[in-house]
């Protein structure tokens, strides 16, 4: 295949051919091109619009997960990807006849200002801007505020997949009112409804939580987790069965690489169209085929309004967190190799978690407390797990002794090592260990940057306690059964 003497590279000094303005649009062959998509396809304005809209509809239509009349919650961050998604949905709903989108949308906006150290006045201003931006859209809007998630009054387990929700007093009252309204009106011109502003105490608690986190990476991960919980909670309480997130192709590629770098395996990451980890609420991503460049151009050319909100990593230098580093890496690579993002993205679609040995097919394993993925820390392979935990607990005096005893106990009962160690008195005195053991590897690594677990929202700590109590209760149950079986067996033997 190699031919001696043949030089495949363009001679030095000759730049690779670039699409020039003198070209025509590749689609209609008539219009003046305005934007370059992918590697060298120049589109004119109208063809670009058609291409963009068609992609959005195609992603929705191909996957057929959204049913007519279904309630779908649109997670809107104010940024352009989600604004674009909102805009597409709006346009799709208003179209006539058979091509019309047929679901019932609602919009949720999470105000993260407190986590980023924004003052209440700034946050109020941002929210007002967001509301104004949406005022013409005539969609039911729920403004959710993360601090309200910090208060936990009632908690009911929803769904069989270990999903849980946190309920808040004042928030609940709002929701009852909202629920009635939404049932009476199918598709509304309704003014946006806003939940009450969070109390100073809640805001303070949230700020404390975020300032106690040591690294920016952990902060971003924690913020993402809390935001997901909040959106899911809102979806559940308002009766939405689907949530649409506006992640673009570029953002998904970056997220995938970041997740891998953070120790989150494919089970904790769903790159497909739908993410069914949370049981009754399915997260879908209709913008997944659009690159950020396309989104930016579309928003600019067709005046899609968006609101900015400062993020936790605003103005942070490039190496401040793994997220930023990965973003810079991928974007820089993309500049040289225009197919980077799409390659990463397509590869991510092919990732499938290999079935684990010893895991009975069909039995759902325990789920991570925070990210709801199946726990990937193998209890049978407890050598690494114990090593990691023991070394992290060395400064404390009691636990290492009890930890050393646990391995011998677990030898007697295979597969119950971690559960049995719950019986050690040291565990009950160490709430941190109790929470940690219910997390997947990625979340555990994240928790390392939290010196104390106390500032975590109460609903998380309460759920952790409930689960470990439940696990202990199960263990006791098993022992009782065994005794009874022995008694029955004895007369049988002879």
């Amino acid at each position: 295949m190699c031919e001696v003497g043949e030089d495949y590279r363009a001679p030095a000094g000759q730049p690779p051919p670039r699409p020039g303005r003198e070209q025509k649009c590749v689609k209609c062959k008539e219009g003046l091109p305005v934007v370059v998509i992918r590697a060298g396809d120049a589109f004119c304005r109208d063809c670009f619009k058609a291409f963009y809209v068609h992609k959005f509809r195609a992603v929705l239509g191909k996957n057929r997960l959204i049913f007519p009349g279904e309630k779908v919650l649109l997670a809107w961050s104010g940024g352009p990807s989600s604004s674009s998604m909102l805009w597409q949905v709006l346009e799709g709903l208003s179209r006539d006849s058979a091509k019309r989108l047929r679901f019932v949308p609602g919009v949720v906006y999470a105000d993260e200002g407190a986590a980023c150290g924004q003052s209440p006045e700034d946050r109020a201003k941002t929210v007002a801007e967001a509301k104004a931006g949406l005022a013409e859209r005539r969609l039911p809007v729920v403004f959710s505020l993360p601090p309200s998630v910090l208060r936990c009054s009632a908690r009911e387990p929803v769904g069989t997949e270990g999903a849980y929700k946190a309920a808040v007093d004042s928030f609940l009252q709002q929701q009852h009112a909202l629920g009635e309204e939404q049932q009476s009106l199918p598709c509304p011109p309704r003014p946006p409804i806003r939940a009450g502003p969070p109390t100073a105490g809640q805001t303070e608690a949230l700020s404390t939580l975020f300032s106690s986190v040591e690294t920016l990476t952990a902060k971003e991960e924690l913020l993402r987790t809390l935001r997901t919980h909040l959106i899911l909670h809102v979806a559940r309480t308002h009766g939405y069965s689907k949530v649409m997130m506006g992640d673009s192709c570029t953002r998904l590629a970056i997220k995938l690489m970041t997740s891998l770098a953070l120790g989150r395996g494919p089970s904790s990451w769903s790159a497909g169209f739908s993410d069914e980890r949370h049981g009754d609420v399915v997260v879908v991503r209709p913008m997944r085929e659009h690159t950020l460049k396309e989104v930016a151009f579309y928003n600019r050319l067709f005046a899609v309004p968006s609101v900015f909100t400062p993020a936790v990593d605003t103005k942070a230098p490039e190496k401040a967190s793994i997220h930023r580093l990965m973003e810079a890496f991928i974007l820089r690579l993309q500049a040289q190799f225009p197919s980077t993002v799409s390659t990463v993205y397509r590869t991510s679609e092919k990732l499938v978690k290999a079935p684990r040995d010893g895991c009975a097919a069909g039995t759902p394993g325990p789920r991570c407390l925070l990210c709801m993925c199946v726990l990937d820390v193998d209890t049978a392979d407890s050598a690494t797990a114990f090593g990691a935990q023991t070394s992290s607990q060395l400064p404390q005096t009691q636990p290492p002794v009890a930890q050393a005893e646990a391995p011998t106990v677990s030898c007697c009962c295979t597969g119950m090592g971690a559960a049995l160690s719950a019986f050690c008195s040291c565990r009950e005195e160490d709430p941190r260990a109790r929470v940690i053991e219910q997390l997947c590897y990625g979340c555990r690594v994240n928790m390392k940057d939290l010196p104390s677990l106390d500032p975590l929202p109460p609903y998380i700590l309460a759920e952790a306690q409930l689960r470990s109590q439940r696990a202990e209760a199960e263990q006791i149950q098993e022992y009782l059964l065994e005794d009874r079986e022995d008694e029955d067996a004895r007369p049988g033997e002879s």
Binding site: R18, P19, G20, R21, Q23, P33, V34, V35, V36, A42, S77, G78, G79, P80, S81, T250, L292, K293, V295, A296, F297, N299, R300, L301, S306, F308, T309, P310, A311, V312, D313, T314, K315, A316, P317, E318, H323, R324, E327, A328, L331, R332, Q334, A335
Partner: protein, 109 residues
């Protein structure tokens, strides 16, 4: 010898949350700048414009906007609402009354 040019430089149309804040922080809160470029020996192109921006408009943290010769990867440049890739990127020669828009697709800055 290039005559003085008047161009409009705009930053923003944020692509991800946080970017506009940086824009305003980096560029002193002003989004649109009507800029008069002085006459000089070489014709004005985007390359020179970037150098000019770095010297005159960027208030702080130039590395968040400019990298080496060009803009940081992840920042889109639109010249008169058209992709700069179609116009020659850095080599595009500026004309009077052109409008240059920088959009960042980066997270927070």
């Amino acid at each position: 010898m290039a005559a003085p040019l008047s161009v409009e430089v705009e930053f923003g149309a944020v692509v991800n949350p946080g970017k506009r804040a940086v824009r305003s922080l980096l560029f002193d809160g002003v989004k649109k700048h009507q800029v008069t470029l002085p006459g000089q020996e070489e014709p004005w192109d985007i390359r020179n414009l970037l150098v000019w921006i770095k010297k005159n408009l960027l208030k702080e943290r130039p590395e968040l906007f400019i990298q080496g010769d060009s803009v940081r990867p992840g920042i889109l440049v639109l010249i008169n609402d058209a992709d700069w890739e179609l116009l020659g990127e850095l080599d595009y020669q500026l004309q009077d009354q052109d409008s240059i828009l920088f959009i960042s697709t980066l997270h927070g800055g």
